[in-house]
């Protein structure tokens, strides 16, 4: 192995092991599982707690009759003869959950201690009573009313032959989520490592030993490696968890898995790796321009790579739109948009090919640009390069 490649490997290994700790990842997973368990137990407790049937005193029935107030969800107590003050005292003492006063067919009031989750159900119950009364009033047969309420059945068909089901959308959504995770990991670590080295005055020592481009290549690869490892780990963990859940729920997990063809997986992985490398090159270049992370205005620019991922969400709503097709090839967005499109619809064979070539070329260009910025920016203490200077370096690269 020649010296330069060996140096890149040394830096890659250093950056990777400096931030990536298996023990921390396992601890994080156990923490998440623990948190999920606590959340589940809490949810179960809340759900069982609301099963208690509310006791509602009816103070006035309006145009309805007492007999109509029969429900499995509520226990209605006839307190129509009693003064409101007495009922209010019982409500305050916790002996009642609510006091219902019905003024007209169209208007009623419920008085409670505070906001309650069962109000929506009560509204539904009263609305049903009202509908029955109106049907009688207008002499409409309930079966006729049911017929009127029926909705048309619309069967969907696609020229491409592939229907984008909810399973498709889930797979596309997961792909977008994985890209977003890698972007955030890249942002966090590139920012920490590069601004940290600058603050700790390590730069000069390393730059005197290896070429700045070698150093930044190692950083890009090391931090990208962390992003990819986390994504693969959490992706696998997600698939296992989903498989376990659907096994018990009986949902069609196999249907979603069947959408991931080997070809799609290869294209997705290639786009993903190149996309992550491109993003990390950009982030490394930007981080090298930051003198003080606490005050620099340039830190905000590091959030830019999130926007392409946000664009990709629109793919789910209209995968065949012209703009989305364009974003599927455009190198700054293709790594997020194209995999989602490939799951949701059929794409021409040349689209992944063009997207991969353009993305690889852009990643290379960003790498060179980052190297130029890094070489100068890392040695600038007390001031930051202007955008004019950065554009000049970009053109030089």
């Amino acid at each position: 192995m020649n010296k330069s490649l060996k140096d890149v490997w040394n830096v890659t290994k250093w950056e990777f092991t400096r931030f990536f700790k298996w023990q921390d990842m396992i601890k994080g997973t156990l923490f998440m599982l623990g948190f999920a368990l606590i959340g589940g137990l809490f949810g179960y407790w809340v759900a069982t707690d609301t099963i208690t049937i509310p006791e509602i005193a009816v103070h006035e029935y309006g145009s309805f009759s007492k007999e109509e107030f029969q429900s499995e969800t509520f226990r209605f107590i006839d307190r129509s003869g009693e003064p409101m003050d007495v009922l209010a005292e019982d409500l305050a003492a916790g002996e009642l959950d609510g006091i219902l006063t019905i003024a007209t067919t169209d208007s009623a009031a419920i008085r409670m201690q505070s906001e309650r989750g069962w109000v929506g159900s009560l509204r539904g119950f009263l609305s049903e009573l009202r509908t029955e009364q109106k049907l009688q009033e207008f002499h409409i047969d309930p079966s006729v009313y049911s017929e009127i309420e029926e909705r048309i059945v619309l069967h969907t068909g696609f020229e491409s032959g592939s229907a984008s089901s909810s399973a498709d959308k889930w797979v596309a959504g997961i792909a977008i989520f994985l890209v977003l995770t890698a972007v955030f990991i890249g942002f966090g670590y590139q920012f920490t490592t590069i601004t940290g080295e600058k603050q700790m005055r390590i730069t000069e020592q390393v730059v005197s030993a290896i070429h700045p481009q070698t150093w930044i290549d190692g950083k890009i690869l090391g931090i990208s490696g962390i992003g990819l490892t986390y994504v693969l780990y959490y992706g696998a963990l997600g698939i296992l968890s989903t498989a376990a859940l659907v096994h018990y729920a009986g949902a069609p997990f196999g249907q979603a898995l069947a959408l991931i063809s080997p070809g799609l997986l290869v294209v997705f992985l290639l786009l993903f790796v190149l996309g992550v490398l491109m993003i990390n090159s950009f982030l490394a270049g930007m981080a090298a321009t930051i003198d003080d992370p606490n005050t620099s205005q340039k830190a905000g620019w590091m959030m830019l790579p999130i926007f392409p991922v946000v664009f990709s969400i629109f793919t789910i709503f209209n995968p065949d739109g012209f703009a989305i097709k364009l974003l599927g090839i455009f190198p700054l967005t293709s790594y997020a948009v194209l995999p989602a499109r490939m799951v949701l619809t059929q794409v021409a064979w040349w689209e992944p090919v063009v997207a991969l070539i353009l993305l690889a070329a852009t990643a290379w260009l960003f790498r060179k640009w980052a190297g130029k910025i890094f070489a100068t920016g890392m040695m600038m203490y007390g001031k930051e390069p202007t955008f004019k200077e950065m554009i000049y370096w970009f053109r030089k690269s």
Binding site: K3, D7, N10, V11, W14, R18, E197, M200, R201, I202, T203, E204, Q205, V206, V207, S208, A209, I210, M379, Y381
Partner: protein, 307 residues
């Protein structure tokens, strides 16, 4: 090992290095001295190829090159702007920095342990750098600069941050390295230490050479090397001492001794006559001008370059 020829480096309106030329010979300790802002660090950074000169040339000995390119594995560097990865273990940090200089990781680990033991911090090799005191971190940085046994080590302010005991220890190490064949260029402010270890000295100011040579050559070329320390009984005719052409300068020290520098090319006899006339001499001794005094003398008037 190095030829620095007519090098110029300008930052905006400031000319940090101005037509500077010097050579560093194989196996010597070459000291680069000068007041703050004299251009020492810019000179060092250009040698280390961290920045390029605007004009002039820097030529390395063929043994330090691979073709036209400088072989960075043959160079060691202790920068003035220092820092270490604070969140990583000491030994791991040293091994990483040495591998960047081309050393095999296992060899680096073994050598690093030896150096850590010598500096009395071997038992802390697996602790994070941040747990060390500033002085001990300086030791780790020093080790990092010479761990790969470079042919040519550039040490920018190697004594800063050390107590006198450790300054002496570093001096001994630098001497040992030189005796082992390593060429060393150092810049420092601790004149006494430099005087003890440097084979040759270059003083610069405003990016230009002021004085250069061995210590003896420098003494001769600056304040003639003649210095007398006199104690008088009773009154002293200060006016006579100050106005005499035979006495270059006279200063009363806190100990009550008069520090007398003789003018260049004047004989001791002529000077003594003036000193005797000035008062009743209680004691008199000759002493050698040290580097600190040469430095102060050379720069106190905002010294100008030797043409």
């Amino acid at each position: 090992m190095l030829a620095f020829e007519s090098v110029v480096k300008q930052f905006g309106k400031v000319r940090a290095v101005d037509d500077l030329s010097f050579e560093v010979g194989k196996g010597e300790i070459f000291a680069l001295l000068g007041p703050n802002g004299a251009g020492k660090t810019s000179t060092v950074r250009m040698i280390m190829q961290i920045m390029a000169p605007d004009s002039g040339s820097i030529t390395f000995h063929p043994s330090l090159r691979i073709g036209e390119k400088v072989d960075r594995t043959k160079l060691g560097y202790l920068p003035e702007e220092r820092g270490l990865y604070q969140d990583t273990p000491i030994l791991k940090t040293l091994v990483y920095l040495a591998t960047l200089r081309g050393l095999d990781a296992s060899v680096a680990a073994s050598r690093a342990s030896g150096w850590l033991e010598r500096f009395g911090i071997l038992d802390r090799k697996n602790e994070k750098v941040s747990t060390l005191s500033k002085g001990n971190q300086q030791k780790v940085q020093f080790i990092a600069s010479i761990l790969h046994q470079p042919d040519f080590a550039i040490l920018d302010e190697p004594f800063s941050g050390f107590d006198p005991l450790n300054q002496e220890r570093i001096s001994d190490v630098i001497r040992e390295l030189r005796d082992g064949g390593m060429t060393i260029l150092l810049s420092a402010h601790q004149m006494q230490l430099v005087e003890n270890i440097a084979d040759r000295v270059l003083m610069i100011n405003h990016g230009k050479e002021m004085i250069s040579g061995t210590l003896n050559e420098i003494r001769k070329s600056t304040i003639s090397g003649q210095k007398l320390m006199i104690t008088y009984h009773g009154e002293v005719n200060e006016e006579l001492l100050q106005q005499s052409d035979d006495v270059r300068s006279s200063t009363l020290t806190a100990d009550g001794e008069w520090e007398i520098y003789l003018s260049e090319n004047d004989s001791l006899n002529e000077a003594l006559q003036v000193l005797l006339k000035a008062g009743s001499v209680a004691s008199l001794r000759t002493t050698e001008v040290n580097l600190h005094e040469i430095f102060i003398e050379s720069f106190k008037e905002g010294g100008t370059a030797h043409e």
